[in-house]
């Protein structure tokens, strides 16, 4: 499959701007699609969102400063398109103050777990159980406001400052939502790890 940039470079109708835009699209297509899929959780919706992102990006491409952070710029457009289409309420998340859990939740639980201590190497055993967990589903189950910062930081490796630009929220809010999201994700994974212990012997029993 030839790239958009290559195709446009050859074609006579590609202007310098469209060729530059095509190169940008080519470079970030996979990354944007990945995030779109995590946000919408549906393949067809993710594809539409990416297409919408490129349409919107092209409309404001003349304001884009060459040399500035193209990746963060495109992700911000994607987030805005997503919020406009799917989650108008996401800008003002209804953050219910649940009983919160501590930082590094799983590690703390592992240290306190008699069940895991009996396994000899509790850290390894916990990671092994989490390995079996549906981590994608746990991530998808996070409330909107916390899921986006976790995706952008832990999967896409954006800095706090970039995430603040992408989500158009202050850095302090990025940090509180990111840490909260990580704690909630860890709690979901921990619950899986604890439950899997109860389930596994029965499964093994029926299969043997």
């Amino acid at each position: 499959m030839e790239s958009a940039a290559v195709a446009l470079n050859r074609s006579s109708d590609g202007t310098p701007a469209t060729r530059e835009f095509a190169a940008l699209a080519e470079q970030h297509l996979d990354g944007l699609y990945g995030v779109a899929l995590r946000l919408t959780r549906r393949k067809d919706a993710a594809e539409d969102l990416v297409q919408e992102t490129f349409l919107k990006a092209w409309r404001s491409f003349h304001t884009f400063q060459p040399g500035s952070n193209a990746r963060a710029w495109l992700y911000r457009i994607l987030m805005n398109a997503y919020i406009d289409t799917y989650r108008k309420a996401a800008r003002e998340p209804n953050i219910v103050e649940h009983e919160d859990v501590e930082e590094q939740y799983i590690y703390s639980r592992v240290q306190a777990s008699e069940d895991l201590r009996r396994q000899g190497n509790p850290e390894e055993e916990a990671l092994r159980r989490i390995m079996d967990a549906d981590v994608e589903a746990a991530l998808a189950g996070l409330p909107e406001a916390f899921r986006a910062p976790v995706i952008l930081a832990d999967l896409e490796e954006f800095s706090y400052k970039e995430i603040a630009q992408i989500l158009e929220i202050p850095i302090g809010t990025v940090m509180s939502r990111l840490f909260r999201g990580r704690r909630l994700l860890q709690r979901a994974l921990w619950e899986y790890a604890v439950q899997s212990r109860r389930v596994r012997p029965e499964r093994e029993g029926t299969s043997s």
């Binding site: 499959m1 790239s3 958009a4 195709a7 446009l8 074609s11 109708d13 590609g14 469209t18 835009f21 095509a22 699209a25 297509l29 996979d30 990354g31 944007l32 699609y33 990945g34 995030v35 899929l37 995590r38 393949k43 594809e47 990416v50 297409q51 490129f54 349409l55 092209w58 501590e102 930082e103 590094q104 799983i106 590690y107 592992v110 850290e123 990671l127 989490i130 390995m131 967990a133 981590v135 994608e136 991530l139 930081a153 832990d154 999967l155 800095s159 706090y160 940090m175 990111l178 840490f179 990580r182 994700l185 860890q186």
Partner: protein
């Protein structure tokens, strides 16, 4: 040079791993984590957990049909 307490590591560990702390604090924490029997394993576990999450949630390339759609769209601009 001030000492680092383990509670400080618990509080700042994620910012440390995110490389978002100032250089002096980063260095202080790094030295403590390397030498502390409590904080070293905590840091290592957290790093492995994060790598595991990233590995399990790794993105897939955009489908060819989407690539074609985007290409067609740009050609029409």
């Amino acid at each position: 040079m001030s000492l680092v307490h383990c509670e400080e590591v618990v509080r700042l560990l994620w910012q440390y791993m995110d490389r978002e702390l100032d250089p002096a604090t980063t260095q202080r924490l790094q030295e403590h984590i390397r030498g502390c029997r409590e904080c070293g394993p905590r840091h290592d576990f957290e790093a492995r957990l994060r790598a595991l999450i990233r590995q399990k949630c790794a993105g897939r390339p955009a489908p060819a049909v989407l690539r074609r759609r985007v290409l067609a769209l740009i050609r029409e601009l």
